[in-house]
């Protein structure tokens, strides 16, 4: 037997290059994955299979419901639209963020407009502002 480090395994020897991508059999993420990963995969597949079965049951029901809804989607939509304020609490972080992003830009733009118009007004007062030609 040859001494020293073992020869590289197939997945180590064959790396993807410009012409060939890594096939799934040689990718350690998809092949020969650990037991925990495979168990998690199986669980996810079981959940998806249950959902698909529910959908098929409702679809092929002789008295079908008017709409086959996905309760997870409904919960998600509710959380995004109607549950925002009830779950809000003013904390130092949120009040700081609110002041920064809500009032900050307004103050910034007010100051910017005022400075710009004052500059123009000063130029007009001193007679240096050339009125652009009016089309009317």
């Amino acid at each position: 037997m040859a001494a020293g480090p073992p020869p590289p395994s197939a997945s180590e020897a064959y790396r993807p290059n410009r012409f060939v991508s890594l096939p799934a059999e040689l990718d350690p993420n998809t092949y020969d994955s650990s037991l925990e990963k495979r168990a998690a995969d199986a669980e996810r597949l079981a959940i998806r299979a249950r959902l698909k079965r529910q959908y098929q049951l409702q679809l092929n029901n002789p008295n079908p419901p008017a709409i086959i809804e996905n309760p997870a989607l409904v919960r998600w939509a509710y959380a995004r639209t109607q549950n925002v304020y009830p779950t809000f609490r003013p904390t130092p972080k949120t009040s700081f963020l609110g002041a920064l992003f809500a009032i900050g830009p307004l103050v910034f733009w007010i100051v910017a407009f005022k400075a710009d118009r004052d500059r123009k007004e000063k130029l007009i007062q001193e007679g240096k502002y050339e009125r652009p030609f009016s089309v009317f």
Binding site: L73, W109, I110, R117
Partner: protein, 402 residues
């Protein structure tokens, strides 16, 4: 004027007394006829106020809005037929009656020459809208939506009432022509600042301005389709119209007022456009884009130049038509898929190709695509703002992009 008002008032008995089989056809057909007759208001004139009676007149600011309000009634009736199919006939009649009551009130509001008449009809249009939203909306959140709508508008319009009464005692008249002739009474004192603020706030809430717009998405989402169309097309315009009328009273706004309002309006247009990108509910997306467009209108109305007023007018009309179209489309989507979640509209084009086409057109006009009037309006307002200050182009440009 009377040939429009009397038929509009007579639509009420038409709705209440028509035979059940002819209810929708009667009301829709007659309101279409009224809409056609109302087009004569658009004839150009050099009189400052045309069709003059003592209390009502039309001029170039109010006549497009009057025609728009006449045009929307048949559209609202058409759009509401589906969701009212299964209601008992008496409820259908009451719904149609509520819709029809808004019409004469709006006509009075837009053509009023007395500020007091304008105020009364302005508030009176709230009541049928409230009834529409709280009684005929479909989610339980419609109660909170109705409360938001009612109290936002009422709280901001109470100072308006007080100010109008004060102006009446001070100047002696509230007739718009007389007010134009009377000497401007406002100085730069704090009292007069508060006076102008009180006058404007009601319309800022109605229009709505960015900081005070909370009632709008709620009201739009919870309202039935006719209510949404009504709100979007007409009631928002009441706000813009009020601002345009009142700024003649206040004259050039003091800088303490016009800087905050302009900045709020422009920044708000930008902000609400970006909020649109994060919306889940289709109707609230359209509601937020309404706020954005009306923000531009408010900015233009505060500016008080010729170009900005024309731009604001054109934007109000085109936005009224476009928003109503968008809400109708959202409603047909909802009727067909029973959901308003935006994600679910993916893949509708092979299924419902004609509706997808209308969606495309409506979205394009909302984005101010070239030959539509929306583009003319946006460009005019942007140019007027640019004239005011060079920096506004950043805000308006980004808002247009969004």
């Amino acid at each position: 004027m009377l040939k429009i008002l009397l038929p509009t008032a007579m639509l009420l008995p038409t709705a209440l007394l028509s035979h059940q089989k002819l209810l929708w056809t009667n009301t829709t057909a007659h309101s279409l006829l009224i809409a056609t007759i109302s087009l004569h208001w658009l004839l150009p004139t050099y009189y400052p106020h045309k069709n003059l009676t003592q209390w009502m007149s039309t001029d170039q600011i109010s006549s497009p809005l009057l025609v728009l309000s006449c045009w929307l009634l048949p559209l609202m009736l058409l759009a509401s037929q589906n969701h009212l199919q299964h209601e008992p006939p008496i409820r259908k009649r009451i719904f149609i009656t509520t819709l029809i009551t808004v019409q004469p009130l709006l006509l009075l509001a837009f053509s009023a020459t007395e500020l007091m008449l304008f105020y009364i009809t302005f508030e009176a249009t709230l009541i049928p809208t409230l009834i529409l939203i709280t009684r005929w909306g479909s989610q339980p959140e419609r109660l909170s939506a109705g409360i938001y709508l009612l109290f936002y508008t009422l709280i901001s319009s109470l100072p308006l009432l007080v100010t109008i009464l004060y102006l009446h005692t001070h100047i002696g008249t509230l007739h718009l022509t007389m007010l134009k002739l009377s000497h401007p009474t406002l100085t730069n004192s704090w009292t007069d600042l508060l006076l102008s603020l009180a006058l404007l706030m009601a319309f800022m809430v109605k229009a709505p301005l960015y900081g005070l717009h909370l009632w709008l998405p709620k009201a739009h989402v919870e309202a039935p389709i006719a209510g949404s169309m009504l709100l979007a097309a007409l009631l928002l315009k009441l706000g813009g119209y009020g601002i345009m009328r009142l700024t003649l009273l206040i004259g050039p706004l003091p800088p303490h007022l016009h800087y905050p309002f302009l900045t709020l309006a422009l920044w708000g247009a930008l902000m609400t456009s970006s909020i649109c990108l994060r919306q889940t509910d289709l109707k609230s997306l359209i509601a937020y884009s309404s706020v954005s467009h009306m923000g531009l209108v408010i900015a233009a109305s505060i500016l008080q130049t010729h170009w900005s007023f024309s731009g604001a007018m054109i934007l109000m009309i085109s936005h009224g038509l476009t928003s109503s179209m968008l809400f109708c489309l959202a409603n047909t989507t909802y009727e067909r898929t029973h959901s308003r979640i935006l994600l679910l509209t993916r893949g509708l084009q092979p299924l419902l190709p004609l509706m997808a086409t209308w969606w495309l057109l409506a979205n394009l006009t909302n984005m101010a695509l070239p030959p539509t009037t929306n583009l003319m309006a946006e460009l005019t307002i942007m140019i007027a703002l640019f004239n005011w200050s060079v920096l506004t182009i950043f805000l308006t440009g980004t808002a247009t992009l969004l």
